[in-house]
Symmetry: C3
Subunit: 393 residues, 3 copies
């Protein structure tokens, strides 16, 4: 294979075996992603997306392009928009504006090499496109997740009687469409993980909903009750749904030290929860703890999505650190992209590149056989997700 034939993710890396490049070139299942922007964004908004942690405007003394993820956008996305790698931020922005959001998305989304997206439609849905648009622009089928806190909030906003809440919640989970393949909890953002994870009685749920409704009044409801989060998770498990948890890295609304996945032990030890897959998302900087949990519980898997994007050139080490304690059957690929279609692309390029660099070294030095490396790529890249979510595409 000549250098010119190498896929982008492998450029500049020495001695990656052809079989490994082929395996990494195969389409991925991105098991946790959001859709991309519905329409034009201003540069300020785009730059804010290059920062996961801060809700503030980028300060005048800097550009957020001066970050690992900003450099990665200029390196890996620029060529797909007809620019040189490492094009300047200004040139990148000019070209992006010239093309428009849909053209950018249509250039970047298919290049991610994903054959199935599992979409969390629940975050800031007014700013991003519907799932169908992602499917259209990327040419790739989508499944969806149901966000547990959002479901509770929708019920409350609908004016439901507190007494009806438990049954209605369960009914909504039972009546989910065929496109829904899992549930997601963002309890990390609401109260952290250190809560009483036992399954609350329906009576307790009703009382809590009553108090919540009273406190909310005419305002938009926001579920921040540990008890209702625990109820939602148990209801999802009863419904037989795989349950995703936002873990670790996120915006500063959350207390990072309260979303160490070890604080989920009280939940994970319950037999009722062990009957469904549990997926720990992102996990940085607790990805080693997540890997340990994925070893210790046969129903737990994890990914290092989101972190891989923000770590940019350092993503190779984040990927490497994820390959320690967890059996290879319990790791998944995700981008956790939201907003800029650059992120859908970057997640896939950086994960493939990290795997290529790490696994090629192990193969070259004799620690792993190349056939094993190929198999692990397939497991983490797609087949584990197919098993967990029972995907048929």
């Amino acid at each position: 294979m000549s250098a010119g034939d190498l896929p982008a993710f492998a450029t500049g890396l020495a001695g990656v075996p052809g079989e490994l490049i082929d395996a990494l070139s195969a389409p991925l299942v991105d098991h946790h992603v959001h859709t991309s922007f519905a329409g034009p964004v201003a540069r300020a908004e785009f730059e804010e997306c290059l920062n996961e942690g801060s809700p503030e405007p980028v300060p005048a003394y800097m550009t957020q392009f001066d970050s690992q993820i900003g450099f990665a956008v200029r390196r890996w996305c620029a060529p797909l928009l007809g620019l040189e790698p490492h094009a300047s931020a200004d040139d990148y922005w000019a070209r992006r504006t010239e093309l428009g959001e849909e053209a950018v998305a249509r250039a970047l989304l298919p290049a991610a090499g994903v054959r199935h997206w599992i979409v969390d439609p629940g975050y800031a849905g007014d700013r991003v496109a519907p799932t169908a648009t992602l499917a259209d622009w990327s040419g790739t089928p989508c499944s969806e997740l149901i966000r547990l806190e959002t479901l509770g909030e929708e019920l409350l906003a609908s004016g439901i009687a507190a007494d009806d809440y438990p049954a209605a919640f369960r009914a909504r989970l039972a009546e989910r469409g065929p496109q829904v393949v899992g549930a997601k909890s963002i309890v990390a953002y609401r109260c952290g993980f250190d809560l009483d994870w036992s399954a609350p009685s329906d009576a307790a749920v009703r009382a809590e909903v009553r108090a919540w409704a009273a406190a909310t009044g005419a305002a938009t409801p926001r579920m921040a009750s540990p008890l209702l989060s625990a109820f939602g998770v148990h209801a999802a498990a009863e419904a037989g749904l795989p349950i995703q948890f936002h873990v670790g890295l996120g915006d500063r609304d959350l207390d990072l030290h309260r979303v160490d996945p070890m604080l989920l032990l009280g939940l994970l030890r319950q037999p009722a929860i062990q009957r469904v897959p549990v997926l720990l998302l992102h996990c940085y900087p607790f990805h080693r703890q997540a890997g340990y949990l994925a070893q210790a519980f046969t129903n737990v898997s994890f990914d290092v999505g989101l972190a891989v994007n923000y770590a940019g050139a350092r993503s190779v080490e984040v990927v490497a650190e994820s390959l320690e304690m967890a059996p290879f059957a319990r790791q998944l690929y995700s981008s956790d992209a939201w907003g800029p279609p650059e992120f859908h692309l970057l997640g896939s390029v950086l994960w493939r590149r990290g795997m290529a660099r790490v696994l090629a070294r192990w193969v070259r030095e004799g620690d792993w056989g190349v056939a094993d490396a190929v198999r692990v790529v397939r497991m983490i890249g797609s087949s584990n997700a197919e098993r967990v979510y029972r995907l048929t595409t």
Copy 2:
């Protein structure tokens, strides 16, 4: 030296100086190990041993061979059983069965290149061989540890009067045989480290034993009292024994976040404890914290055993991370092998290989002199343990 002359641990690594290979080829002291299986094991049981965290059977959707440690077994142990490196799991299992447990052990244990084992005989002793068998099969002398929680449980099971417990506990420590070179605490598994570490009065111990006996009744006693654990540790210190603590990585019975070694500060700051060596075992993912404690306390040393085995090809980074804050006089080698003799071998191969790759780079790039590298290998590989445990072999 031609490639064919290289010891297994150095194969595939470029530019490791001959002096360093020689130093790493010298026999090790494995300061914390268990014995290997006494007799035949089924494949299911063997695969469960490839997972430290989970007490569950390996689920049907996977083989536990698909993990770093599983790959490492196939890579490093297969050739010693007459197979090719990376032999398939099925071929490996067939060959292993054909040979039988003793022949496998006799092939792998001596190949570990260990000249002294310090054995913890206290875990699941009915499933593994007696210490004498390890000595026989490996051709290597053994010392032993006395497990503090087990000692307390034996006393209670013997029907001792609560009033006699403190003196009897101390007497058992004093009357230990010459083969006993240290004590071990698994308080990590019983209540974590965040407890009152002050030395309890004998009166308090007696009252606690009384309560424990009453609660235990006719059942097999299990010591889970923080006070009795603190008593045991103080008694071991009074007896002048080096004290090992299980830290970090273990099965999911423990709360990993409650066995961060920093939570031992209240113990380590006590002058009574500072008079004996304290050894922090395994420590992953808190090995940086352990290295810091080994810097901060002149009587504290640590190792990254167990983690090195489970990390497989990633063990090089675990070893590298252990070489940061701690003086080189306060780091030890251990495998923490238990059960499969594969683990006794793997610990040594992976530690040697990790040291070879890390130190060779520092020598090659000029950060370290080769004589220093050789000396550090000797310290961590054997001489520190000889000093700590006053070994004379």
Copy 3:
């Protein structure tokens, strides 16, 4: 450029682009440093300085030179004193003694290639030289920090009336000389970070000072009041001063797990604090958490000083890990040297070397453009500090 022309920090590294070497050769701003020894030190005292964590003498069974920082001293400082790299500890000590403290300092300090020191004059000031001496011996201008806990202790020692404390504290901050460019808190050493960070009322401060004075009596006052620390930090913010916090690694007086920077969230979320720069110092082993905070808060920056020195050859990975989540505009260089002028030199050599190795690889493999690498070096090496502290030199 021939090998002979390479600056010391780049020796032995393959393929570092000339532009990157040039950028790394440019003078640094060391934004947190102490002065070096005022006069002769004994070898025992010097060796104790090679250990940050322990207040104890180095035990007889070892030399503290057998550590990463000890090896780094022999590697990088020996040639500047006319010895071979890796000179033995005994030879190094003999040469050092022969030269005397001032000559050693005059050889090492200018070689650090620093063009501005920001000095914390507050620790063990009787053992180290005044700031003016550092400026003289290094030929480099200095600014200073004002230590908040020390200021409080000076006020109490002066016999101030408790009622006057709040105003006097503020007045001292307001009347600082032009050489003072920031404040520093060592609350890490006094009570950790998990405290009530709301701004206390002056009445509450007065009551606390009254209690503190009563408890102190004739003794030298030591501020260990969370409330007074919070007051000091808020007063510094009111005065518009950048505020440094000791975070992570330090001597064993502190509880390392209580100085995880995440425990500062309650402070960092306050608008009053967000109006001034906050600088997280050292941070090891929590530097990833610090990087996250520097992403999440536009006024937060961090460094990995101190840790870089103690990690020696491993500093390259500490530097690499610091280049993940934080925008490049929010990272600074510091040595946190104190005492041996070796540390002023080492900080700069190891940081430059780490950056050279890490960034050269990214450039070589195409992840970063060389112009970006050069720019990031300038930002972290000097221009960010100039902006944060409004330096004009």
